[in-house]
Amino acid sequence: MQEKEWVRRLFKNKAAVVGLIIVLLLIFTAIFAPFLAPYDPINDGTLKDRLKAPSAEHLLGTDKLGRDILSRIIYGARISIEVGVISVGLALIIGTLMGLLSGYYGGFLDSLLMRIVDIIMAFPSILLAIAITSVLGPSLSNAMIAIGIVMVPSFARVVRSTVLSLKEMEFVEAARAVGASDFSILIRHILPNSLAPLIVQGTMSIGTAILDAAGLSFLGLGAQPPTPEWGAMLVDARELLVKAPWVAFFPGLAIMLNVLGFNLLGDGLRDALDPRLKQ
């Protein structure tokens, strides 16, 4: 697939472009948070300014400690990106490795790795993440590890199934026929051709990771106060629902929009990237 082609296809897909814009906006926000945020996310604000409704001064209102919600959401973008990149990166590396080995070599190794995957998948993923963080101790980094672990199977499976189908493709056999080594086949043929589903899976998974991390933080297992993590910002929201619904509303909206962005982009990429390999 020529690179230009899928980019063109991606840009023709309105939903995907919206997704891309959201994702770029998120990245932009994260990078320029100090310039964008009107206030300090942690230290500004006093209890006097507590639970102020949205106003010109505080566009999205203030939270229980009088901190500016907008600023916290802006800084939260950094954490979301961190979570997405680290946990998905972890899952991607381990999962891809497992999938490649399992799919290409098959046999005992395959059975072993796939049983491990089955076992992890036998646990509802959020629950497993909850269990892992509770065992490791509540913190954002442990939450990222836990999310990474529970996402490994999906990567392993995606890679394995593409490898399995690629392995049977005649171009792989052709490479073998011209004497290419296993390693070179894996690197030059299998991996590049598994890239499309991996990119799609990765993009979607970032959304899922942000969502799960927010969930863990909401339960008190992820980011700890005063970290401006979006899910953690909702921890006391239930108590404040009567008086200050905006405390609950905006951070949740931020989560939803960004996850939606990654999902839209992922969907778009799936359609744009090599439809022939889509199964």
């Binding site: 209890l47 005063p226 239930r238 108590e239 009567v242």
Partner: protein, 510 residues
Amino acid sequence: GGNTAKKESKEPKEKVFVFAKSGDPVGLDPANVTDGESIYVTQQILETLVKYKDENTEIIPGLAESWESSKDGLTWTFHLRKNVKFHDGTPFNAQAVKFNFDRWMDKNNPYHYGEFEYYGYMFGGYPGIIKEVKVVDDYTVQITLNTPLAPFLSNLAMPSFAISSPEAIKKYGQDYFKHPVGTGPFKFVEWKKDDRVVLERFDEYWGGKANFDKVIFRTIPDNSARLMELKSGNIDAMIGLNPDDVETVKNDPNLQLLLRPSMNVGYLAMNMEKKPFDNLKVRQAINYAINKKALVDAFYGGLAKPAKNPLPPSIWGYNDEIQDYEYDPAKAKALLAEAGYPNGFSTTLWAMPVARPYMPQPKQIAEAIQKDLEAVGIKAKIVTYDWATYLKKGENGEHDLYLLGWTGDNGDPDNFLYVLLDKDNAKKGSASNVSFYKNDKVHELLIKAQQESDQNKRAEYYKEAQVIIHNDAPWVPLVHSTPPVVAKKSVKNWIPHPTGSECFFKVDKE
């Protein structure tokens, strides 16, 4: 029975009183619990020998109709009420009283399972100052003390020393905490964990019939959800109002806001057994660092005052001369530097998982304190556990900075100062003095006060103790709150008791 069921629901409904609070009971054996959540329930079921008046902590007869003490204050004779029955049908008598006391005081008693903390706190250990409990006749009990104890009667009136049915204790053994049997106006029906405790009127109650057929305690952890339930009429009354919602309640024509007289303290204990809180300067610095006024304004909806003493001002012996550490971050920083922490340090800040009368939003308060501490360079990580674990770990002294509070049980200063700050109660595993503050001078004063029967003299001792405590700064006393009770307008005859809970015997609704 589909038909009968239908009929039943059409007949005049039973009178049910639904009362919601934030936490589930830890257990229902009053002798073995220390938390208000549990005590609110046991107070409906079990009774003590002597009781408080409905509106204050004056002592009136309970299961004992009358009593007298010897001159030296060491021997107390109680004349028990006759024709009183436990809910299981067994009679209440002197043997039952002795059985209960023996169980509490004797660590080797076969029924002494669990910690029985309160007994230890109030009577100085096991057996502590109670020497002996003697059955004089079926309806007369004699209690002998080792040393005089001024607040003895006040202590006995505490819900923890309610008399359980000996037969029930024998029958249920370890599980008694799930099957409390007492003599009170309501008997226990069921406890659905984390959902509800259902009580039913005990028709043979010696004091007459209660107004409600049923009393249901519901556990609704979330404050605003609880309020919404009240507004939608699913519950009759609740405690644990979000301070942020005080205004809403005041403006609601269907609701009434009942104020419970303040007899509590919310505080931040510093574990003096751990570095750097063994350092007085650090403790003082923290006292300077925290903006109590702002906390009180923000988190209590106007229903509280900042605290400067462990004792609430409503209790005699309160030392109003003490000058509080004012909010002064600069001074705090200076003190930290003096103490050898110019760049601050990292520590943990423990926050209660549930709303308490003295601290309705503990996690938020913890975050506010975290922020105050951060401002002087102390990085505090907030730690929280479920309620029972939180208390347990506190008793074990695992914490650094620990949020907690105390609601007076009997209106005696001893109940605050001795329980919360005496070295006798700083024993790991069952500590109620969670800052592990051990000052011999304070101890001396508190014991003297215990043994003195002249209240003025006692007050002097307590005032002196408060000065020392203030200087040693084992705590940051934060707040004395006036905890609101919210009920439907239709609820009548409810007098919130300063001790934090009351029996619903007289309460009624239209």
